[in-house]
């Protein structure tokens, strides 16, 4: 284990970002993701990077916009209420087709809510990151190792598609400590001929902007952007299937809910209940084909979430009425126990609907 270190999820994101070539971090502290900023504050000055604690979340996301315009790798991180503040900036980044990397280590809401873990920003991340028609790639890690790996992947995807990729983690993933290997393959740097790096009087000015004076040009830009999103849906879906080969019940869960669910599945299997899991790793693009295929084989789905039921809507759309989809959830900073998930599995296996 010589090459491994013991890291908090938040630290793993920060170190992986540095390895991915990010030298610009802008943020504003908020629990439970403050370790990302604290780690950057210690590391960035030692490697010639910039750590800046902005005066607000809104300032930080606009600093991201500025650095992204120059084509350099840049990030910010926050937790739920802070991401709401950043949402205007996320829309501007999308409107200007800028690559950026954003982290949301979710806490209980709505409002100021609480500092304990939650997954209730699923809608916000996958459907309503800000005003206007746009998408973000949303990555949902379920271990500290994945926090690191998906950070590197997130930077690569952002550059490849000129869009925002977001890590959607929760307080537990941010705070828990696990051994991590930081041995990553970094993708070849993407050419960024659009970046505002100075013309040297040798070319026309590049313009980075989300304002379009002519409606038909704005319409065309939107249509083209959504063609790009189609390519992302085609090529970038990530998921894990767990014990699905003979499964009659399929659990859907991501992040910490998936870890709890795995324990419950092992217990249910000991009782002879054939249950498996599809764990979406990309929440957008959502693994809808995988759920549609599973709907041909299993007789019921259970969505395990730390929310009032948000991902369940995407599962129902993918399953398209072929099997019932029920919810097993805790909210407000509480995590379902493996026993609670097991109870939900037993109920469904005995034919109940809830």
């Amino acid at each position: 284990m010589a090459d491994k270190v013991l890291m908090k999820g938040n630290e793993a994101i920060a170190e992986a970002a540095i390895i991915a070539g990010c030298r610009h971090y802008f943020g504003y502290p908020i629990t439970p993701q403050t370790e990302i900023a604290a780690y950057m504050a210690k590391r960035m000055p030692k490697i010639g990077g910039t750590f800046l604690q902005a005066e607000s979340e809104i300032a930080a996301i606009n600093m991201v916009y500025g650095v992204a315009s120059t084509g350099l790798r840049v990030m910010t991180s926050s937790s739920s209420p802070g991401i709401s503040l950043k949402s205007e900036g996320l829309s501007y980044l999308a409107g200007a087709d800028l690559p950026s990397f954003i982290v949301n280590v979710q806490r209980g809401g709505p409002g100021l809510g609480g500092i304990q873990p939650s997954q209730s920003d699923y809608f916000q991340a996958t459907k309503a990151g800000g005003h206007g028609d746009f998408r973000m790639i949303v990555l949902a890690p379920a271990s500290v190792q994945e926090m690191a790996e998906l950070t590197v992947h997130g930077f690569d995807l952002a550059d490849k598609y000129r869009m925002t990729s977001m890590i959607l983690a929760d307080g537990t993933m941010g705070q828990m400590m696990e051994p991590v290997s930081l041995d990553f393959k970094i993708a070849e740097p993407v050419e960024k001929p659009w970046a505002t790096t100075g013309t040297q009087m040798k070319r026309e000015h590049n313009i980075v902007n989300s304002l379009f004076l002519s409606p038909d040009v704005l319409e065309r830009t939107n249509f083209e952007r959504f063609k790009k999103y189609d390519t992302v849906c085609e090529n970038e879906v990530m998921y894990e299937e767990y014990m699905m080969d003979d499964a009659e019940i399929c659990i859907a869960a991501f992040g910490i809910a998936a870890r709890v669910s795995k324990n419950a599945i092992v217990e249910a299997r000991k009782r002879g209940i054939k249950v498996g899991m599809i764990r979406p790793i990309t929440l957008w693009p959502f693994p809808e084909k995988q759920f549609a295929a599973a709907a041909e084989k299993v007789r019921a789905f259970i969505s395990v979430e730390l929310s009032m039921g948000q991902m369940i809507e995407d599962i129902r759309l993918a399953v398209n009425g072929k099997a019932p989809v029920t919810l097993c959830n805790r909210v407000g900073g509480m995590i379902p126990s493996p026993d609670e998930v097991l109870d939900a599995i037993i109920k469904v296996s005995e034919g109940g609907n809830n």
Partner: protein, 220 residues
């Protein structure tokens, strides 16, 4: 044995687990009739607190002093007035200092009295598998920052090098050289090497001053 034992170090080095286990060990060594308290002085990290262990401390007649907001939804850097019991009562005291220099700042409020009484041991908890304390030099740098913030010099080291549940006996053996180097750089002895209870037997006889840790169960 000193009346006050402090555990400080880089955050995530394992101070809280060691402090709780050390207090339970102290109860065994001192018998039932001595007063023992555990004080959690962490004003930075709202998670993974001594409060997680309040039931086992209570069973063993050990008083726990910590922020009344620990493990709640309120993220506020506060300590209860009860913390003055550390210096103002004759109880044996085990102190869980917050991580890094920022976490050790609260200790500064008590440092003058602790040093005047001069019946304390201040232990630096080290873990070579943490990313910012991988080398002896980095660790000594963090150690000096903590000393400056807490205003109490360290008196010894606790080698708590670990990779969580994946730690092997070999990892511990490899960490001995790291701890020894820090000892030479600072002139402080390694008071103990703490390991997960599951590794204790396989390392007994191979590592001096081995200390067994009972960790909290994991549910995911």
């Amino acid at each position: 044995m000193k009346r006050i034992t402090l555990f400080a170090g880089h955050y995530g080095s394992g101070k809280t687990n060691i402090a709780v286990n050390y207090a339970l060990q102290l109860r065994k060594a001192l018998g039932r009739d001595k007063d023992i308290l555990v004080a959690d002085l962490d004003i930075v990290n709202p998670y993974f607190r001594t409060k997680d262990s309040c039931a086992v401390l209570q069973e063993n007649g050990i008083k726990l002093i910590c922020s009344e907001y620990a493990n709640s939804n309120l993220d506020i850097p506060s300590l209860p007035s009860e913390m003055y019991a550390i210096t103002d009562t004759p109880s044996y005291a085990v102190i869980d200092v917050g991580g890094d220099d920022r976490g050790a700042l609260a200790l500064g409020r008590l440092s003058a009295k602790i040093k005047a009484e001069n019946n304390y041991e201040n232990l630096m908890v080290i873990n070579m598998f943490r990313p910012l304390t991988r080398t002896p030099d980095q660790t000594v740098e963090v150690m000096r920052e903590i000393e400056a913030a807490g205003n109490i010099p360290f008196t010894a080291l606790v080698n708590n090098s670990n990779l969580g549940p994946l730690t092997s006996a070999d990892d511990i053996l490899r960490s001995l050289e790291y701890a020894e180097k820090i000892s030479r750089l600072t002139g402080l002895e390694v008071k103990m090497t703490s390991v997960d209870a599951r590794l204790f037997e396989s390392l007994q006889g191979k590592v001096e001053d081995l200390f067994s840790l009972t960790l909290q169960p994991k549910i995911f």
